[in-house]
Structures are given as structure tokens and as C-alpha cells.
């Protein structure tokens, strides 16, 4: 009788090539399983967030150490540059100061008028948004992912969904936070979808990243809603970003597709500011909203609804085949204002990224926007053919709404 002590399998030799092939198949199956699990977990953020934020926390110190020499080198170069160019820069800044002084007076006057209009119209303005300064310690910029690791985390009040701005414009949104570290998904990431508006026409669009430097403008509607050089701002639709953050200028690629040249490309890539802006889904108790029972419909109301429906069915329908261009201009501009909010603004995606399609309430669901007399006046004063303004620092653009929080020592 053969027992296992005798080692009956000791002479059995499996070719290494086959064992390696089996190992490769096993590893491949594991990878596929992880891929499928990750895809299906996209709606359940907390489970996957734990792994990712844990990894980010582990990697952040090493990334910070690697980034430090470059930061020091950059500071040394800036110091030398400032030292040797101080006189020239002084002359340039003095000239600029003279040039800008009349804009300052104009800004004071406009601020005054704005306050009066706000008081007259009883406008509810956005509360000041505090900010947190942070430094990027790693920068992922491949075609399949654009993200940065920041050295500020939950201990400084950073939350998932907070918008991030650089010196000149919006950079992206926070998609992962742990203690001491957070990850920002850039506007250029293939999964990034940002509701934006064209400043000159107020047309809405979705800024969709594709892994390149200039994200695309999707779902533009109406006749010529955008021109080359138009300034693109965040629209605030869906409540993810505050309205009015400068994003970039509109440009056309070789295929004629509208894209946005980002302002954030012009600023240093290592220092950013995180706006502690709570998006709609964070400030609202969704459960409480959905919990309320609808009020009962009385018999009279029911009859009225039925009569209205019957009247609508009987009334002749407008010619649906009529093209958009055939509509009167006023109707077009109105569509650009309210209805043009794209059908697919944002949806929760992997790691808190946003994708078009489901989930969020957007401008498309909102009633038509009331015409702001101040806005109308400003549009009258500024002709559409005027050249696009130079990118103002993002902090200046959002200044009325943002009160800078003192940055923690870097």
C-alpha cells in the first residue's frame, strides 16, 4: 500500500511553462474579478473609498519627499529671477498700476450699483466660501487619468466634492479625502463632466475631459452659442460648483469641435486652493426630501387637471420638424438661457468622479431663470464683439463670494 509518507507525487514533474501559464491565468482572472467588482461598486463609494484613501495616505509622504527637491529648486530659481529682474519688474508693475487704476474706480462704482440692485430686488446672494490652501505632491497626467494628490485632508475640513481652483481658474473637484491627503480629479480627466456657461451668450454646456489638455464642450445648443475666445465659466448647475468660477477660453480644434483652453494651465501646478463649498447633495437631506407624502388631490383639482390635459391634447401641436434656426431670436436666446442646460450634466462615477446621465438635479429641471436687470444692463454696456478679457485671477472672480481662510503653514 502506498502512503503519502512515501511521497508518491515526488516524481511527478509539472513543466514550469505550464505552471507559469496557470499562474498567469489565475492572476488574470483575479484582475478581471477586481475590475468587475470595481465597476459594480461605483455607486457605493464608502467601500472602495477606504482602499483608495488608505493607499493615498500611504503614498503621500513618499510623493511629498520626491516633490520637495523640485519645489526647492523652483523657489531658488524664483528667488534668483526676482533678484536680477527686480528693477524691470518694478517698472512694469508701476505701469500696470496706472493702467488698472481706472478699472478700480469702475469696480467700486459697479459694486455700489450691484449692492443697490441686490437690496432692491431682495436677492439672496451666495454666502462667503472659505478656502484651504494645499500643495500638490503628485500629478497624474496620462490619457486615462488626470488627478493630483494634495497635502490637505479631512483634518482641514476638505470634503469629497469640494471644487479646487488655481491662481487663474478652476482645476477640478475633490474625489477622495483622508487625514492629511486628498485627491483632486482634474477637469481634463476622461471621467470629468462639469456644467459650464459661455459668459457672452449665457449658453450652457458640459465640459467633458478626454485626457488631453483642452477638454471638449458638449451639448451646446442654439445657433452660434459660442465664439472663439469666449470666456467659459462654471454655471453652477447641479450644485457641484459655485457659479462663475473662470474655467478658460473657447477654442476650436482641427475638426471644428469646440474645446476650452484652461486658465489653470497658465498657473503653477503645485499650489491650489480648495473651496469649502458644499454641493447641493451635501447640504440637503435627500431622505427628508423624499420622505414627505404628497398632499391629497381633491376632486375639484382632479377635474381641473383632466380638463387641462384634454385641452392640451385637443390643441394643435407646433410643427416639431421645424429646425431650431427657424425660431425667432428671442426664443433662441431664451432656450440658451434656461432650456439649453444639457440633458446629461453629471452623474456619480468612479471614485466620486462625475459622469453625464443620472443622479443629479440640474438646470434642465429648474424653472426658466428670471432676467436679472443688472445682468441685462451689463450685457448692454459690454458689446458682444468686444475682445475676450484677459484671465482674471480666480480669486478675484469669486472674491465677493469667497472669504479667504488663512492657509496653514506649508
Amino acid at each position: 500500500m502506498v502512503s503519502f509518507r512515501d511521497g508518491p507525487l515526488q516524481d511527478l514533474k509539472v513543466p514550469l511553462a505550464w505552471t507559469a501559464a496557470v499562474a498567469a491565468v489565475l492572476a488574470g482572472l483575479l484582475a478581471v474579478a477586481l475590475l468587475i467588482a470595481d465597476h459594480h461598486a461605483s455607486g457605493r463609494e464608502p467601500q472602495r473609498a477606504t482602499v483608495r484613501t488608505g493607499f493615498d495616505q500611504a503614498v503621500e509622504p513618499a510623493a511629498a519627499v520626491l516633490a520637495a527637491p523640485l519645489r526647492w529648486a523652483g523657489s531658488a530659481r524664483d528667488y534668483l529671477f526676482d533678484y536680477f529682474n527686480a528693477a524691470e519688474e518694478n517698472h512694469r508693475l508701476k505701469a500696470k498700476l496706472v493702467e488698472m487704476s481706472h478699472f478700480r474706480d469702475e469696480a467700486f462704482a459697479l459694486r455700489n450699483i450691484n449692492k443697490r440692485y441686490e437690496a432692491l430686488l431682495n436677492l439672496r446672494t451666495e454666502p462667503p466660501t472659505p478656502m484651504v490652501s494645499a500643495r500638490a505632491v503628485s500629478d497624474v497626467r496620462g490619457p486615462f487619468s488626470h488627478a493630483r494628490l494634495l497635502d490637505a485632508g479631512s483634518e482641514r475640513g476638505v470634503k469629497v466634492g469640494n471644487p479646487v481652483i488655481a491662481e487663474y481658474g478652476a482645476v477640478g473637484r475633490i474625489v477622495g479625502v483622508a487625514r492629511g491627503v486628498s485627491r483632486v480629479l482634474l477637469l481634463t480627466d476622461v471621467d470629468s463632466r462639469t456644467p459650464v456657461l459661455i459668459s457672452t451668450t449665457n449658453s450652457r454646456a458640459i465640459l467633458a475631459g478626454d485626457g488631453g489638455d483642452s477638454p471638449r464642450l458638449l451639448y451646446l445648443r442654439g445657433a452660434s452659442p459660442v465664439k472663439r475666445g469666449d470666456v467659459v465659466l462654471t454655471s453652477g448647475d447641479g450644485g457641484m460648483y459655485p457659479r462663475g468660477l473662470p474655467v478658460g477660453v473657447a477654442v476650436q480644434d482641427m475638426k471644428g469641435q469646440w474645446r476650452v483652453q484652461l486658465y489653470s494651465d497658465q498657473s503653477a501646478i503645485d499650489y491650489v486652493r480648495i473651496l469649502e463649498f458644499d454641493d447641493f447633495s451635501q447640504v440637503t437631506d435627500q431622505a427628508a426630501l423624499n420622505d414627505r407624502a404628497m398632499p391629497p388631490v381633491s376632486a375639484a383639482e382632479k377635474a381641473q387637471i383632466q380638463a387641462t390635459l384634454a385641452a392640451r391634447t385637443a390643441a394643435p401641436r407646433p410643427d416639431a420638424s421645424k429646425p431650431d434656426d427657424a425660431k425667432p431670436d428671442a426664443a433662441k436666446s431664451d432656450a440658451g438661457r434656461s432650456d439649453a442646460a444639457p440633458a446629461q450634466p453629471e452623474k456619480a462615477s468612479k471614485h466620486g468622479k462625475t459622469k453625464p446621465g443620472r443622479g443629479d438635479k440640474t438646470g434642465a429641471d429648474k424653472p426658466a431663470e428670471k432676467v436679472n436687470p443688472l445682468k441685462a444692463l451689463l450685457q448692454k454696456l459690454a458689446p458682444r464683439s468686444a475682445p475676450a478679457p484677459a484671465p482674471a485671477p480666480a480669486s478675484a472672480a469669486v472674491k465677493p463670494a469667497i472669504a479667504a481662510k488663512p492657509a496653514a503653514p506649508q
Partner: protein
């Protein structure tokens, strides 16, 4: 001239190169821009996927590639398992046809390496396009794949170092 071959110690021909590849990935992810240009971002573990399969079959290799791929997925904030799968795919295919590549000149090997790199990028491109409902920028993909193909000399060096270590698989 080929470098003298070293004996096959898993720590030397598998673990150390994997750690170097991951460290290089982290180094090139520093936020640095020179004259408006960022640093390149090649897929360093692609070198390992190709070279390990050419040197000799190994049981540990695929699992180290799985770990390297998962590191890339987490570090680059991609879909978990995406790069792991593409690296293992390259390893598996190279393992199957390694006899075809034996004794080939360097340029032909480089061509094979380029082909497998494009295969891996094709897989990642397809998965990302399906998952995000948006095709990634083809120019950016081309740039990253070209930079990765340019890493072939590292693969060649690894192969030369260890290809004669186990004569059963020459």
C-alpha cells in the same frame, strides 16, 4: 556586447526590477513643468511584463505583475485591475510565443515589444471608453504608448542580464 548572465534569484530578477519600476513611476509623477511641458508618464511595468516572459516562465511573475498593475491603478486613480489585466495579458501572450522571439535581432524584439505595448494600450483604451462613455484623446494615448515603447532598452538590458541563467529555457 552582452552583459554576463546572473543566476536567477527571484529577489534579483523579479522583485528588485518591480520595485525600481514602481519607484520610477512615482518619480515621474512629481508636479513639475519645464517650459510648459510636463514630464512623460510611461508605463514602466510594461518592461517587466515583456522581459520576464522572454527570460523564462515563472510562477511568481504574473502575481508580481498583478501587484504592479494594482499599484498603477491606485496611484493613477484608474479602474482597479485595469492595468493589472493589461500587463498580465502582455505577459501571457509573450509567454505563448516566446519561442518565436528566441534568437531574434534587437530591432525585431523591439518591434514585438511595441506590438504588445499597443495591445495593452488598446485594451485599456477600450475599457476606459466603455466605462466612461467617452473615448480618451487618441493623441494623448499615442504619446504615452510611444514613451512606453521607448523604454525597450531597459527590457533588453533585463533580458541580457538573465536570459542565460536558466539554460532549460533558452
Amino acid at each position: 556586447m552582452s552583459a554576463p548572465s546572473q543566476p536567477l534569484q527571484p529577489l534579483v530578477w523579479l522583485v528588485a526590477p518591480a520595485l525600481i519600476a514602481l519607484a520610477a513611476t512615482m518619480v515621474l509623477a512629481v508636479p513639475f513643468r519645464l517650459f510648459g511641458l510636463s514630464l512623460p508618464e510611461p508605463v514602466f511595468p510594461m518592461v517587466l511584463a515583456f522581459a520576464w516572459a522572454v527570460i523564462r516562465p515563472s510562477i511568481l511573475g504574473p502575481f508580481l505583475l498583478l501587484l504592479s498593475g494594482l499599484f498603477l491603478d491606485l496611484f493613477w486613480h484608474g479602474e482597479m485591475g485595469l492595468w493589472a489585466l493589461s500587463l498580465i495579458l502582455v505577459y501571457g501572450v509573450v509567454l505563448m510565443i516566446r519561442n518565436l522571439m528566441a534568437g531574434q535581432p534587437v530591432l525585431v524584439l523591439w518591434l514585438w515589444y511595441g506590438l504588445f505595448t499597443l495591445l495593452a494600450f488598446g485594451l485599456v483604451y477600450a475599457v476606459v471608453a466603455v466605462d466612461s462613455h467617452s473615448a480618451p484623446n487618441i493623441l494623448a494615448v499615442a504619446c504615452q504608448s510611444v514613451v512606453t515603447i521607448m523604454l525597450f532598452p531597459f527590457a533588453r538590458r533585463l533580458i541580457e542580464q538573465f536570459e542565460d541563467a536558466d539554460i532549460r529555457f533558452r
